[in-house]
């Protein structure tokens, strides 16, 4: 095929773009369902799909313009050619399809539809200054006192935090499914393992209402515990929480 003129180049490129669309829309959700062992399909996120489609269209155009020869072939499909039956049929199809497609785009764009809500939020807002200087009193203590605080903290954690954050601190408590902003999974290395004790102290004491507005405090179900728990109890919960989740805070004041 090297030097043979490909008069169907336009059709091939359009077909490839069509295939890409079908793959992203229908095949990929099924493939990821199997790969990730889920019991439901995993639809391609719409923005990701949009970028893949843009890249697909651009790649097609880039390919068509790699040489003047190819580009001439690409366009020549639209010219009244040798009268090949399939070619003229496809050409006519294309002539009809283009305005229809434009009309369809305008239609889908202008009919009213319930837009999905945009709910962007910062998950790790900056620690307020008032909390920066605080020290966890139990981290300094000797082994035995530390272990005691961990054990007491675990009891408090299991009593007050478990219903949402779960017995295993994995964010899977009995109430977890009922809050749209899911309780944090503390076992996840991207959560409490990346912050210091003080950060947790701030989060437990002030809760959702204490968040800055970029972290959407109105959606957070994290209670503010300042009226119900003493500071020492909060520090103990933090000790117990790290132990339950099996992770360490970012800064360790003292090695065991």
């Amino acid at each position: 095929m090297a030097n043979k003129r490909n008069t169907f180049l336009l059709i091939w490129i359009l077909t490839a773009i069509g295939c890409l669309f079908v793959f992203l829309k229908y095949a990929s959700p099924k493939i990821f369902q199997v790969l990730m062992a889920k019991d439901h399909p995993m639809p391609t996120p719409s923005t990701l799909m949009m970028w893949y489609m843009i890249m697909g269209v651009l790649a097609g155009l880039v390919y068509a313009t790699t040489s003047n020869q190819k580009f001439a072939d690409f366009l020549s499909f639209l010219l009244p050619g040798s009268g090949h039956v399939i070619q003229s049929f496809l050409r006519n199809m294309l002539f009809v399809a283009f305005p229809v497609l434009v009309g369809w785009f305008v239609y889908t764009w202008s009919i009213p539809g319930a837009a999905s809500p945009v709910e962007l939020r910062i998950q790790h807002p900056t620690l307020p200054q008032d909390f920066e200087k605080l020290e966890n009193p139990f981290r300094q203590k000797d082994d035995q006192a530390q272990r005691k605080s961990i054990e007491e903290g675990k009891i408090l954690f299991q009593t007050y935090c478990r219903p949402c954050h779960g017995s295993k601190a994995d964010g899977n408590g009995p109430f977890a499914n009922s809050f749209r902003l899911r309780p944090i999974n503390f076992q996840d290395p991207g959560t409490i393992a990346t912050v210091v004790d003080n950060y947790l102290f701030w989060r437990i004491k002030e809760g959702g209402p204490g968040l800055p507005s970029e972290a959407t405090p109105w959606d957070s179900a994290m209670p503010s515990w300042k009226d119900d728990l003493k500071d020492d109890e909060i520090w103990m919960i933090i000790m117990g929480e790290y132990d339950t989740a099996g992770v360490m805070p970012r800064q360790r004041e003292k090695q065991e």
Binding site: T65, I111, A115, P163, P223
Partner: protein, 530 residues
């Protein structure tokens, strides 16, 4: 010439990309709701029961289990006070999910399955996150709490061979459900509202709650037909759920299984409740109205209110179904939820509340989802079941009494005000039928109280949140089930002008195409030889 054509082509490309954008923007994303786990059946090779394994198991138990099950296995751990159902007491033979005959202890494999899968609708998590070895060790230790494990011979296991469901089998199952009096606890429609379950209590004055068989996510020990068959055959020790191994033939038990399975539904949730335009003068004001079948149903999961004291750690209502319709004047909501009892008392009454911000938010910012805050007020539509008896009387709300509605504003838990009488414009009617409350709330789209009332607008995303009280669970005030913020959207009708736009677009598309082709024909691309 080629250059000019290339330019034209790039234009085409840009148009294509632009339309891709528009098309994506128009897409509505729906949330699937497969939130719940399944009961895992496969069990690996058992670890030998040795003194070392028991000693290791003690360590596992005292690291992970005792907080709920207690240091002596009595189900009285420090965390158990915030739980209902209570954690298993290992010193008694109250094991529920077993493959063994009624009254006997479970097999080690049964314990392994439960520890691995957890129990849905309870605080028991799934422990497949710890090693199999640790799980076996914990089992060997747990068995030391109850002597019956040693004394009893190997318990008799009930075998399970699945039989496929047929419509006849489901029908026969329904008959047997009546004949064997399953409804006395599970209720006529299977909502766990039978007269016995309401009356019976354990020896520690705890209620027995028969399962709501319509909620597939709350079946203890799994909701596959094999799991249901096992439960019906073996029963739950120390509960009114007995074994039907001898009372019903194998075939009959399968009929009942298929009937029970036919009742069970998954939770069909979404973030946006779409409110359809209702063609007609009157919106339905009665829950039994046929028109509701036209509305889209969305199920909203609920959690206990744990934001502020008093906290509801053990809510009895875990989901509410919502439907809504609007016409040019009014909007109506139908709210339905399962409640095992219709017991009303002066203070503790069944109730439901809708929450809106006082105005549609312009930005991301909303009032706090739990009763608003000082920066954002909320509008509450609150319905309460009827009660008008003497002090202390507990009665059922009669069907002909619709209950009372009040409209309130709140800026936080401690700052709730009832709107003045002239501003009370929500009408409501609730009815309790077969273990389910059905409440209709209705209001005009706009009101005169523009400060305190939500003014509905078509096509906008309007935040909404829900709260439900169960009087028989001692719910009152802050003791309730709540949801996060969701949205409603009053659907726009397709305006006629859309078709004009489409026509113009097609004509324009066609013209551009013809111009392009004409140009192409006039100056056909020539390959310049190099």
């Amino acid at each position: 010439m080629i250059k000019a054509l290339k330019k034209g082509l790039i234009c085409f490309g840009l148009i294509g990309i632009g339309s891709c954008f528009l098309w994506i923007c128009g897409e509505v994303s729906a949330q699937s709701s497969l939130l719940f786990r399944t009961y895992k059946h496969e069990v690996p090779q058992k670890l030998q029961e040795t003194p070392e394994a028991v000693a290791e198991g003690k360590k596992v138990y005292e690291k992970r289990c005792w907080y709920c099950h207690g240091i002596e296995g009595k189900g009285d751990g420090p965390a158990s006070k915030t739980m209902f159902p209570k954690p298993r007491n290992f010193t008694r033979n109250e094991y529920k999910v077993r493959s063994t005959v009624f009254g006997s202890v479970p097999t080690d494999e049964d314990l392994f399955r439960i520890i691995t899968s957890g129990i849905e609708g309870t605080a028991m998590p799934f422990w497949n996150t710890i090693s199999e070895k640790e799980r076996w060790q914990a089992i060997h230790y747990i068995k030391t709490f109850n002597e019956q494990f040693k004394k009893d011979a190997t318990p008799q296991v009930v075998s399970v061979i699945s039989i496929a469901s047929t419509p006849e089998s489901v029908n026969r199952g329904q008959e047997l459900f009546k004949e064997t009096k399953c409804y006395e606890c599970h209720g006529e429609d299977g909502r766990g509202n039978g007269p016995l379950t309401v009356a019976l209590q354990t020896e520690w004055n705890m209620p027995y709650r028969a399962r709501d068989l319509t909620k597939s996510w709350n079946f203890k020990g799994g909701n596959t037909i094999e799991d249901i068959y096992r439960t019906i055959s073996t029963g739950f020790n120390e509960t009114p759920m007995g074994s039907y191994l001898e009372k019903l033939s194998d075939e009959d038990r399968w009929h009942v299984v298929h009937y029970v399975k036919s009742l069970a539904k998954d939770i069909a949730s979404d973030v946006v409740v779409k409110v359809k335009l209702w063609e007609g003068d009157q919106l339905p004001s009665d829950a039994s109205d046929e028109s509701w079948s036209k509305a889209t149903a969305v199920e909203i999961p609920l959690a206990g209110q744990i934001i502020a004291t008093p906290r509801q750690w053990a809510p009895s209502i875990d989901a509410i179904m919502v439907k809504a319709l609007y016409n040019k004047n009014e909007i109506a909501f139908l709210l339905e939820w399962d409640d095992a009892t219709n017991k009303q008392e002066e203070v503790f009454r069944d109730a439901v509340s809708l929450q809106f911000p006082t105005k549609i938010p312009e930005s991301l910012k909303k009032p706090y989802f739990a009763m608003g805050d000082s920066g954002g007020a909320v509008n509450l539509w609150s319905w309460k079941a009827y009660w008008n008896e003497g002090f202390g009387a507990v009665v059922e709300a009669p069907e002909n009494e619709s209950g009372s509605v009040s409209e309130m504003n709140a800026k936080g838990f401690k700052n709730v005000t009832i709107q003045p009488p002239e501003s009370q414009n929500v009408a409501g009617r609730g009815i309790y039928q077969n273990g389910r409350w059905k409440v209709v709330l209705k209001r005009t789209l706009v009101t005169e109280d523009t400060k305190g009332d939500m003014q509905f607008e078509i096509g906008k995303l309007i935040p909404i949140a829900f709260a439900v009280w169960d009087g028989s669970n001692s719910d009152v005030g802050g003791l309730k089930s709540v949801s996060s913020w969701y949205y409603i959207s009053l659907e726009k009708q397709v305006p006629k002008t859309v078709f004009v736009y489409v026509l113009i677009a097609i004509i324009m598309g066609g013209s551009v195409e013809m111009w392009f082709i004409a140009r192409l024909r006039r100056f056909p691309p020539k390959v310049e030889e190099e």
